[in-house]
């Protein structure tokens, strides 16, 4: 079969490469080059916007944390536990202290500046998650297992404790899927799937059994 371009034979039928007729500027090759160029531009712009968006989010979070640190420790705890309903064990885990220590702060005990800053940080993040309008009850969302196949037990709180705050916001804004985020922050997360599951037992309590696929 002979392939022609503009009435001229092409490929083997046309002989060597130099036998090709020069393409006019409106040809598909020029179109392809233009598309290559535009896509590169868009990719670069996309990366730039993504970086800029990340920076803007970080600055926003930093400003909010600064505002929150103006509150007293007991005020921050009232916000987190009393208003948000966050569990004392989660608050303790976020700050890296015992529940007893947090309970003492609640009653007026002294907390270190570092602990106060950690309380301000989680309070600021919960505000962001709520204001984005996607997470109605951000403290509850942090505690829920992420929607993955059975056998995975990963909470947003776990990602927060590992320092992936911006990825968490990505997740809340549904810019990336849970799997995409986990692939980036926990590359081996799939290997952590358990053969067991938790279920509500006949006595009304939770029990553990082997997962039935």
């Amino acid at each position: 079969m002979t392939v022609t371009a503009g009435g001229q034979p092409t490929g083997a039928a046309a002989g060597g490469f130099s036998d090709y007729a020069p393409l006019p500027p409106t040809s598909t090759r020029a179109l392809s080059l233009r598309a290559d160029y535009l896509r590169t531009e868009v990719d670069m712009l996309g990366r730039e916007v993504q970086e800029w968006h990340g920076e803007a989010r970080e600055r926003d979070l930093t400003d909010r944390i600064f505002e929150k640190t103006k509150k007293s420790v007991s005020g921050l705890l009232e916000e987190l536990a009393g208003e948000r309903g966050m569990g004392w064990s989660d608050i303790a885990e976020v700050v890296g202290v015992s529940i007893s220590a947090v309970r003492k702060w609640r009653k007026g005990g002294d907390a270190s500046p570092e602990s106060r800053s950690k309380l301000a940080r989680i309070a600021a993040l919960l505000d962001v998650l709520e204001e984005k309008g996607i997470v109605q009850d951000p403290a509850a969302w942090m505690e829920m297992d992420l929607p993955l196949d059975r056998g995975y037990f990963i909470r947003p709180l776990d990602l927060y404790l590992e320092g992936h705050v911006l990825k968490l916001i990505d997740l809340a804004e549904q810019r990336q899927t849970v799997a995409q985020v986990l692939d980036q922050v926990r590359p081996n997360w799939r290997a952590g799937r358990s053969d067991f599951e938790v279920f509500n037992d006949t006595d009304g309590q939770r029990s553990i059994r082997r997962r039935d696929e």
Binding site: G85, S100, F153
Partner: protein, 230 residues
């Protein structure tokens, strides 16, 4: 098998908050165990939080295991090389102890009083204890995440009770075991009220924040009412 630093293993050592309900992992001193001679000893509660209570009351007997000095329960080798014990590094004055699973027995609940409680475990510490108990009895190794999920409702209930008691009782009452027990019953009654009750709602993590807010409101209302009545 997982291991944990002593700073993260304990919730408290020494002076333990009386408002915290008795839980798996609590360590007591001065307990004379039936069948273990006349000498008072240290014991750790082994019973799962789900099985040590009937309503608000403790069961008559609670599963415990003796706690003894143990020099080699620190570091990777200490945790991995002693699967028949629960390491309790730095339990008292930086001295190391361990709970001997092989001597598990039942202690009368009346002996396990708040003044005798010398340490409590963090939630993470409780999961580690559970993991080691399962391993000891079955040779099955459970991931901590799974144990966390299984225990979430009952441990959340325990922390809510602790908060309730501290909100409602005065400082003087917080040093009175009978006042604490009475308030624990009041919390238990509140938790079981309504349909669905807050206790039922705790079976799903999505409701935990809501139940926490409701519990705190109810405790503060109760505290105000008590003050008005005095």
């Amino acid at each position: 098998m997982d291991q944990i630093e002593s700073e993260s293993l304990y919730d408290e050592r020494g002076n333990v908050n009386w408002a915290r309900p008795l839980l798996q992992g609590d360590v007591f001193d001065g307990i004379v165990l039936p069948g273990f001679g006349d000498q008072p000893m240290k014991v750790q509660i082994i019973s799962h939080p789900c099985t040590m209570r009937m309503g608000a009351n403790l069961t008559l007997r609670i599963t415990v295991a003796p706690v003894e000095p143990h020099s080699s329960v620190v570091g990777q080798r200490g945790w991995d090389g002693n699967l028949r014990v629960m390491p309790l590094p730095g339990l008292i004055d930086e001295k190391h102890f361990a709970t001997k699973f092989i001597d598990v027995t039942a202690a009368p609940a009346v002996l396990l009083t708040r003044p005798r409680r010398i340490a409590t475990l963090s939630h993470q510490g409780i999961y580690i204890l559970q993991q080691r108990l399962i391993k000891h009895y079955t040779r099955v190794e459970m991931p901590l995440e799974l144990l966390r999920r299984q225990s979430a409702a009952v441990l959340t209930e325990a922390v809510l009770q602790w908060e309730w008691i501290e909100e409602v009782l005065t400082e003087a009452e917080l040093a009175d075991e009978s006042a604490i027990e009475a308030e624990a019953k009041a919390f238990d009654t509140w938790l079981g009220e309504g349909d669905p009750s807050c206790r039922a709602l705790l079976q799903n993590e999505i409701h935990h924040t809501d139940v926490h807010r409701r519990a705190l409101r109810a405790a503060r209302d109760r505290s105000r009412t008590r003050k008005d009545q005095k």
